[in-house]
């Protein structure tokens, strides 16, 4: 139908069944309660910061639960990566607002933690069911969370009424794809080390 109407169409053969990269889950409105669609760019960045904070806290809480020292170190590393993501968001927030929030003050005053991707911690663990003592499973879980986050930001951009906020969301979505690629490299590195 699309091709006949002049669209440039590619059929993904095998669809989701053959898709061996991280998938996203939930209905189109999954997680959108975090976004009204009317956020300013600063408010958008605040929500994204909170999502990264939620993920960082998740990694830190998982670190306490596992026994394997390699996995403990991996969770610390993943939590540290989230701080870098937050710094990028905070720099943009400060540039837009002309304010000078630090990570600590912004985390404490601006943002209540949420979970990246719009799923709760329990939902992530139920869907992905990782072996919490396996580094490969943990990196795979992290990649899946980034995929879910990319999906959420894409959907949030679609409902956004503020063009500047939409472009902020699209940029953050693109960054989530980069995070996925970085985690893919980490996975390869862990395989080489193992």
């Amino acid at each position: 139908m699309l091709a006949g109407k002049g669209y440039q169409v590619y059929n993904i053969s095998g669809g989701i069944k053959k898709w061996d990269s991280p998938a996203a889950y939930g209905l189109p409105e999954q997680g959108l309660e975090l976004f009204s669609g009317h956020e300013s760019p600063q408010e958008t960045l605040t929500v994204a910061f909170a999502l990264e904070e939620g993920l960082r806290e998740f990694y830190l809480s998982m670190r306490k639960q596992v026994q394997n020292n390699d996995v403990k170190q991996l969770f610390s590393r993943l939590a540290a990566i989230e701080i870098k993501h937050q710094e990028r968001l905070l720099n943009e927030y400060n540039a837009l607002s002309g304010e000078a929030w630090t990570h600590e003050t912004f985390a404490a005053k601006q943002a209540a933690p949420a979970m990246e991707g719009g799923l709760t911690t329990a939902e992530y663990l139920r869907i992905f069911d990782p072996d919490l003592e396996s580094t490969a499973d943990i990196v795979s879980l992290a990649m899946s969370i980034e995929a879910q986050a990319f999906d959420l930001y894409q959907r949030a951009a679609e409902i956004g009424s503020n063009p500047h906020s939409r472009s902020v969301l699209k940029r953050i979505a693109e960054e989530e794809r980069t995070h996925m690629a970085q985690l893919g490299k980490l996975m390869a590195q862990l395989s080489d080390d193992g």
Binding site: M1, L2, G4, Y7, Q8, Y10, N11, G15, A24, Y25
Partner: protein, 73 residues
């Protein structure tokens, strides 16, 4: 000209080719379209895919940018 929709060739990409296609472009430069039912989309979809179930497609074509390549499954 309804026959045209049945005769226009559509390129196929396997999962690896689709992934390469996506990784070498910005997410904004193409559309991923999921034409399955909502419950199938809910159970797992390609990240960033837009859900328009096939029975609704003809009415919702305006939601897809014809200027961008569309990857369908």
């Amino acid at each position: 000209m309804r026959w045209k929709q049945f005769l226009t060739p559509v390129k196929s990409l396997d999962a690896a080719e689709a992934r390469d296609f996506m990784q070498t472009r910005s997410a904004e430069s193409f559309t991923i379209l999921d034409v399955r039912q909502p419950e199938e989309y809910q159970a797992g979809h390609l990240p960033g895919a837009k859900l328009i179930p096939l029975p609704e497609l003809s009415e919702r074509l305006g939601e897809i940018n014809p200027q961008k390549p569309t990857l369908v499954y």
